[in-house]
């Protein structure tokens, strides 16, 4: 029971990792709960993912709200606001 986390751009650099397998438990079933667990790592995770910081989350490549459910096998990407064009 895992999801694939993907970190992009500035967040990938801050966290020092681009992808990781993340274990799901019974009480980790939303984007919010995943973020809460990541913040508990402290350091750049706590800082960059703090409430009120500007970042986006996509589940299976669609941007979602923080109460969106996550399930085993999902790809959950966390990234800064986009700056293309």
């Amino acid at each position: 029971m895992t999801i694939q986390l993907v970190f992009l751009a500035r967040l990938r650099e801050r966290f020092g990792v681009s992808r990781e397998r993340f274990p799901l438990t019974a009480d980790i079933n939303t984007v919010s709960a995943v973020l809460h667990t990541l913040r508990q790592r402290g350091g750049a995770f706590a800082e960059e993912l703090a409430e009120g910081r500007a970042f986006r989350v996509a589940v299976n490549q669609d941007v979602v709200a923080l109460d969106h459910p996550v399930k085993a096998g999902d790809e959950v990407a966390i990234f800064p606001p986009v700056t293309g064009g």
């Binding site: 992009l8 500035r10 500007a54 490549q61 990234f79 986009v82 293309g84 064009g85």
Partner: protein, 152 residues
């Protein structure tokens, strides 16, 4: 009606792209296009090099969705979006959007709509090198406002 999305390192030739889109369709009466280029200044600093990163897979999906939304909203024929990635320098072309339609109003509007949502929804990020070092470009509220006005 075609919707073409390409994410590539290579440069592009707008003239050749438009020629290919129009080929054999005499119903096209209007072609609107936009090109975005790398500037040598940003936020008051000179910019030497720029690096464009994206989220492969989601980028193409999101751009195709934006083009589909434009096609649902206006009577248009074709949409083409090309966005470059990797290392770019001032004067380089970054992005182009082309829309074809029967009359000009639809392609003008759809082209601007696609560009406004590309800026706020397509997962690309710019990192630029300046005399003070490298930095990630921050998203701008002005771009959010530009996309927001299409919702009114």
């Amino acid at each position: 009606m075609t919707c073409i999305v390409r994410v590539q390192e290579a440069d592009f030739d707008l003239g050749a792209e438009i020629k290919a889109l129009r080929l054999g369709n005499p119903a096209i009466g209007a072609v609107a296009s936009f090109i975005g280029c790398v500037r040598d200044m940003n936020e008051g600093d000179s910019v030497g090099l720029m690096y464009l990163e994206h989220y492969p897979g989601m980028t193409e999906r999101e751009l195709a969705k934006i083009c589909a939304e434009a096609s649902a909203r206006w009577e248009i024929f074709d949409t083409l979006v090309i966005h470059r990635i990797g290392e770019l320098k001032p004067l380089d072309q970054i992005v182009c959007v082309v829309v074809t339609s029967g009359h000009r109003g639809e392609s003008f509007s759809a082209c601007e709509f696609i560009m406004d949502f590309l800026k706020t929804r397509a997962p690309f990020w710019k990192r630029e090198s300046t005399p003070h070092g490298e930095r990630w470009v921050d998203a701008r509220a002005k771009d959010d406002a530009a996309a927001e006005r299409w919702k009114q």
